[in-house]
Symmetry: C2
Subunit: 361 residues, 2 copies
């Protein structure tokens, strides 16, 4: 008895089933694959035989013929990050509902890794890719997908010059509102911290490497401008990748002649590092400094103090990404165009809690 690599028994094939059922191979295949016409009589014969043999269709072989793998490739920065965790769940939910599975790849926001990831998924012949691009500058690999008509959907971020559908949340208004509140409280020097390790491209010129971060800053600037406050570009900082780095940045920022009186953290990971640093410094929120964050992981409500955040419908955005991908594939997606449908773009909103106060005097 032949064995597969792992020592498993030879797989039961359509041929085996056909033989046992006493019908032709094609008939068995039709019955098992549920296509074409098969008389009810023979169908039962085949199904019974399949049952008895424990037949399991080989999707690989099926895919070779149909040209479709029923698989979506998803490339995110880091699945440990709650943003991507939630978005991915949204994707898998919608995908699974339509009979699609998901192959997941992390890039750690490294474009080189992303390029490799795209290659792998291409070779695995996923039907479509959903990627959260690490850079808006280096994207030949994505452009190539578009050029070759390979279904691609961007997640969380857009690339201006790349014509691919994107599932993005409109975050500018909420970012602006958050900043406006700070301004209303009397803040004039508001710092922005992101984990981005930019290629040195400052935010003033736009566009920034990651649109979702650019939008956060854009919202902030809009509020500043509306209040006739000259933005201090030096208060926008990147590289808050971990605790030490964030502490270093904050130390430098707070040591300035005119230190910021309020902080905006670009995401939930950054805000945690900020909380750690402020704690170390012995600074109280919001008495000594105000703090706003993006994303709502479910914990911000219980921190000391509860954090005011710009909350995004992340899960829904993941669903939207999957929907966009499946629609490109011509798959009829259940909930599409309906309630949670496209027409109205998803928007973020400000959740007011207790981390905002007037600037320390």
């Amino acid at each position: 008895m032949a064995d597969t690599p792992a020592g498993r028994q030879r797989e039961v094939t359509v041929t085996d089933v056909a033989r046992l059922a006493g019908v032709g191979k094609a008939t068995a295949a039709r019955a098992l694959g549920e296509y074409g016409h098969v008389s009810e009589e023979k169908r039962q014969l085949v199904l019974d035989a399949a049952e008895r043999l424990g037949y399991r269709p080989n999707e690989l072989a099926r895919s070779m013929n149909t040209g479709r793998t029923q698989t979506l490739g998803v490339i995110v920065g880091d699945i440990e990050n709650s943003y991507f965790g939630n978005a991915t769940r949204g994707i898998t939910d919608v995908a699974r509902h339509s009979g699609y599975d998901v192959i997941l790849l992390n890039t750690d926001e490294n474009v080189t890794v992303e390029i490799e990831a795209v290659r792998v998924l291409t070779e695995k012949r996923v039907d479509a890719m959903i990627v959260s691009p690490a850079s808006a500058y280096t994207f030949d690999h994505l452009q190539h997908l578009v050029d070759t008509n390979y279904p691609l959907v961007l997640l969380d971020r857009t690339i201006a010059t790349l014509s691919a559908p994107a599932a993005v949340i409109d975050i500018v208004p909420a970012a602006k509102e958050a900043t406006a509140r700070l301004i209303a409280l009397g803040h004039r020097r508001i710092a922005f911290l992101s984990a981005l390790t930019t290629d040195g491209v400052s935010f003033s010129g736009f566009p920034l490497g990651v649109s979702s971060v650019a939008e956060r800053i854009s919202g902030m600037l809009a509020a500043l401008e509306e209040a006739d406050i000259q933005p201090d570009h030096d208060l926008v900082r990147f590289g808050a990748v971990d605790r030490p780095a964030t502490a270093r940045i904050l130390l430098e920022l707070l040591g300035r002649d005119a230190p910021p009186t309020a902080l905006i953290a670009s995401d939930s990971t950054v805000v945690r590092d900020v909380l750690a640093a402020l704690k170390d410094f012995g600074l109280r929120i919001p008495a000594d400094i105000s703090l706003v964050s993006f994303d709502d992981t479910g914990w911000e409500e219980f921190t000391d103090p509860p954090l005011t955040v710009v909350s995004q419908p992340v899960h829904a955005n993941g669903e939207e990404a999957a929907r966009l991908a499946l629609e490109t594939l011509g798959v009829n997606v259940p909930g599409a165009g309906s309630s949670a449908g496209h027409s109205d773009r998803l928007t973020a909103h400000l959740v007011k809690r207790s981390s905002l106060g007037p600037p320390a005097t």
Copy 2:
């Protein structure tokens, strides 16, 4: 020019490359697939041709022949849950390092969904499955995998009567220590809350449907016993699946004649719901009630008050799961057996913060 379903251009195949390179198909295949022997001269010819045509190997076809998909199937409860997010990241890291990809499926701890997930992965012919079993009672589908020699690794939970390798963290000692501390502080009535929706099987008899939860309880009981405290089985509660449910359970618990003076939350999701409920009830931690939780998501340090938790090396456990799976496949895993190797089982440890205090009088 023929088109694939999505309207993409016909794929470039080995045959195309061979023709352009002016060599036989087999030779081209050998050069491209990097197997067998090919003269350096022809190899270059082939590679150049491939480059010019933009050839991309079809892993599906490759898999059909080799019988290996270079893909791991991962079945978890919910990727949004930080535990599974971290574990999955550990898995993907190790897998990718060895050239393997990961197909991810969520079950929401529903066995029926899990059964279906296993079926799907079987048909996709993943080389191995890593599953976090939803139940230790219903596992015919897993038993079947074992019976047919299909590589299977359990994640986070074991099933006593199923002989499959498992990547689990030893959590009993830390759970016991946490409870012992509560006891030392004077607590006698300690409640345990889990999100499990048990099949009605109480914890007293053992084993419980999910071993990782059973171990938490087991550790707690051990401490109780060591202190000669008669455990009150009614203080162990399941079904804390969301905020309202958790609030309901707590309300009932706290309304007892002899209410618990300390709470142990089974995981990070439960503890958040507990925090919400206690906040609603106006109860202060630890003045009014003590609270311990399992898992450390990175937020417990910043809650009000900072939470004492039993922290687990989740990411490392995910890595271990992948390692076990790959080793079963005969893949040489880089970091195996070394520092992070098997010999010493991963263990949880207690992180002391400020949510424990003497019982309210």
